[in-house]
């Protein structure tokens, strides 16, 4: 009945569904979460909009656990998160998850629903980390193998931005014009340029002009709370919408995949699912694609262990769950004396790529980037000013609120996360989901190299603020004491050698011929701070293009 089953509808699953349905194949898309309605689910028109983040619906958050994380050390004290109102933000002497820790959305569109929408291509050298720098692993494909699919994804989404970015070839691209800078970016540009850094327009999955039946962005500053207009290029309003127009896509929501069944030879023979009531269903198709993300994809494979795959499905190399890479990040916030209103504008509209190449941070392998981050720091409205930035109470406090509201400027950095033996995903020995299956357990460790890169990022963020005229960093927040990841990678690494990788360059399992993976779990390296959604989508389109012939 179906040519392809796709599990998961985030960036990878949606782009794969698009590519396959465009080629005429019948696709069944299984999604554990719900479907969100942008027009009604994102409450940005209410005065109390700031009291909640992206809305939760039943089933829209996955469950997982954390292994105890590393002890904090006095020598890295300057990397602890703090704020001028509350002091140090982590209460103990160990690193801990920040809130739920892995910030994601389950639902049609996956985490693109709450993402900022940065649309980055990987630096070409970031795909050759092992051969050039002796760390991580090389990608089994080149930038130029991926380039046509980058072009295709950007065109479909309506990415707005620029093409003169170092380390990338944009030949054949067709971007919309870049967005004008917000006040945050104007101030940060001033600081960065004083330090000799180059501040550019960031490439963004947000429309700078009406496109493909969607309106232009109106600069409300709240991409992370969900875009009610549909101008943000989340997967639901781009890839999924186009796939549904073909009439070839069937979507089933709130259906959890429990296990992949196999024929004992080389094929996946069935996909076993359950709904929230526990009722079970089984589907089969010639091709099965996993796109559940770097936590749930390895979990599903490990939970699918049987007599034919004792250590987990597709785990002949022992690499399923290994090489876990997280979001290494830092933000610094100051208050500008300029006449500004930083709650207006497009989040992450400006960026500096100067330190993005893997060898560009002095004495440390692995790059990073700097960008305007006031919105991601959730400083878009007065509630967080009052709770986090403005001291005191009473009449004086209200006066200070009036003076300072709109003046917060946050600069952020995201850096390379290199794999290490102590960072991996495993099955939890005791915690189980509602179907009785073990949860994924996150093991995260930041070795010295990562902390030194983080230190560079922190110092540079503070320097940019100071150079831009802010005398005090009033809040800083980073990965040293908090695990707080929006991007996770690497737990089903792709490669040419079946002894050291889970899939080939098309995401195809080395052993199970009809099993494919198209999410960030197949990344051999994380990149130097690039947001991964565009690369996931390009990989999925490339995989779908290859499957066009296989299905036939």
């Amino acid at each position: 009945m179906y040519d392809v089953i796709i599990v998961g509808s985030g960036a990878g699953g949606s782009a794969a569904a698009y590519g396959l349905t465009q080629a005429g194949h019948k696709v069944l898309l299984l999604e554990a979460g719900p479907r969100f309605n942008p027009a009604t689910d994102y409450p940005l028109t209410n005065s109390d909009w700031e009291l909640s983040l992206f809305p939760e619906k039943k089933g829209s958050q996955g469950k997982y656990t954390f292994a105890p994380m590393q002890k904090l050390e006095a020598r890295w004290q300057h990397l602890r998160s703090k704020n001028s109102l509350n002091g140090y933000l982590s209460p103990g002497d160990s690193r801990i998850p920040s809130g739920i820790g892995y910030h994601h959305v389950r639902g049609i569109g996956g985490s693109t629903l709450h993402f900022t929408g940065e649309s980055h291509r990987l630096h070409q050298q970031s795909m050759k980390m092992h051969s050039l720098f002796g760390v991580a692993a090389d990608w089994p494909l080149t930038y130029h193998n991926l380039m046509p699919y980058y072009n295709q994804a950007e065109k479909l989404i309506g990415v707005a931005g620029i093409t003169n970015i170092s380390g990338r070839d944009y030949n054949g691209s067709s971007l919309l014009p870049p967005h004008p800078f917000s006040d945050t970016s104007r101030i940060l540009q001033r600081g960065a340029e004083k330090l000799g850094m180059h501040w550019q327009a960031n490439n963004r999955a947000a429309l700078s002009q009406a496109y493909d039946g969607r309106p232009a962005c109106n600069y409300c500053h709240n991409c992370n709370r969900g875009c009610p207009r549909g101008d943000k290029g989340s997967a639901d309003v781009t890839f999924i919408r186009q796939a549904e127009l073909t009439g070839k896509l069937q979507i089933k929501t709130r259906l959890s995949v429990l296990k992949l069944e196999n024929d004992g030879n080389s094929k996946i023979s069935g996909v076993l699912c359950a709904d929230s009531s526990g009722q079970r269903f089984s589907f089969s198709a010639p091709i099965v694609i996993l796109a559940c993300g770097a936590l749930e994809t390895p979990r599903l494979l490990l939970n699918s262990a049987d007599a034919n795959s004792l250590e987990g499905l597709a785990n002949e190399s022992g690499q399923v769950g290994k090489n876990f890479m997280e979001t290494l990040s830092w933000t610094s916030t100051g208050l500008s004396n300029d006449s500004v209103q930083t709650f207006k504008g497009l989040p992450a509209d400006g960026i500096c790529w100067d330190f993005n190449a893997p060898d560009s941070v002095p004495h440390i392998i692995g790059g990073c980037r700097f960008s305007s981050t006031t919105a991601e720091a959730d400083l878009s409205g007065p509630v967080n000013y009052a709770r986090r930035l403005v001291k005191g109470w009473g009449a004086e406090f209200k006066d200070t609120m009036r003076q300072q509201f709109g003046h917060a400027i946050t600069v952020g950095a995201i850096g390379e996360s290199l794999p290490n033996d102590r960072s991996f995903i495993a099955l939890d020995a005791t915690a189980k989901d509602e179907h009785g299956l073990p949860l994924a357990r996150i093991n995260s460790y930041l070795p010295e190299t990562e902390l030194r890169r983080l230190e560079f990022m922190a110092k540079r963020c503070n320097s940019i603020l100071h150079a831009a005229g802010m005398t005090e960093v009033i809040e800083s927040y980073g990965s040293y004491d908090f695990f707080s990841s929006t991007h996770v990678f690497g737990t089903c690494r792709m490669g040419n050698d079946s002894n050291t990788s889970v899939t080939n360059s098309y995401g195809q399992s080395h052993r199970w011929n009809n099993l494919y993976i198209c999410d960030a779990s197949i990344f051999p390296s994380s990149g130097g701070g690039e947001s991964p959604s565009l690369t996931i989508e390009a990989l999925a389109l490339r995989m779908a293009n290859s499957l066009k012939h296989l299905v036939e």
């Binding site: 994102y42 940005l44 028109t45 209410n46 005065s47 109390d48 909009w49 700031e50 009291l51 509350n86 209460p91 870049p178 967005h179 004008p180 800078f181 917000s182 327009a201 700078s208 232009a216 962005c217 109106n218 600069y219 409300c220 500053h221 709240n222 009610p228 207009r229 709650f343 207006k344 504008g345 497009l346 878009s380 409205g381 007065p382 509630v383 000013y385 009052a386 709770r387 005191g392 109470w393 009473g394 009449a395 406090f397 209200k398 006066d399 609120m401 009036r402 509201f405």
Partner: protein
């Protein structure tokens, strides 16, 4: 600020018994007749934290006191803290915080904010009430107008940003 934990509440309550007394208690007599409901005490407290001025009303005029209590109805640890904190406030206010002159209310709250340990009842109570009440206050249209903010992010957005040149 993280959600109030049971352990935080326990530690705060136990240690409140050995706190040094606020300066305000150096004089005056306790009004043993007073027995204010915690919601009435909270109303007086949030109006000291967020008083009316020429730009925006006091917290209770915008329903912050009621919203705070509704929040506590859904969070048992917070409710316990508010009840214990209000009792403590009354006790340390000659028996009646509500009737205390404003300058003495300010003195007492300032001590809670600046000198009381955030791990003990008075400090934890003050910080939780401040955190929630400023959040609830600035989530209202009138308080936002007082800041010169005349709209929510949507449906209008800020299209003037799109007219700029880089």
């Amino acid at each position: 600020m993280k959600p109030l934990s049971r352990r935080q509440l326990l530690v705060a309550t136990v240690y409140s018994a050995i706190l040094p007394a606020p300066q305000i208690l150096s004089a005056g007599t306790i009004n043993k007749q007073a027995s204010n409901h915690p919601q009435e005490i909270l109303t007086a407290m949030v109006d000291m934290i967020l008083p009316a001025d020429q730009h925006s009303p006091a917290a209770s005029q915008l329903g912050v006191n009621k919203a705070l209590w509704q929040l506590a109805e859904r969070n048992l640890n917070l409710k316990k803290l508010l009840i214990k904190g209000c009792r403590w406030l009354d006790k340390e206010s000659f028996g009646n915080f509500i009737t205390l002159p404003d300058n003495q209310k300010i003195e007492l709250l300032r001590w809670m904010d600046e000198r009381a340990s955030p791990k003990r009842l008075p400090g934890l109570f003050f910080r939780q009430v401040r955190y929630h009440s400023v959040g609830l206050y600035y989530a209202t249209e009138q308080a936002q107008k007082g800041l010169g903010l005349h709209q929510s992010p949507q449906p209008m957005g800020y299209p003037e940003i799109g007219l700029r040149d880089n």
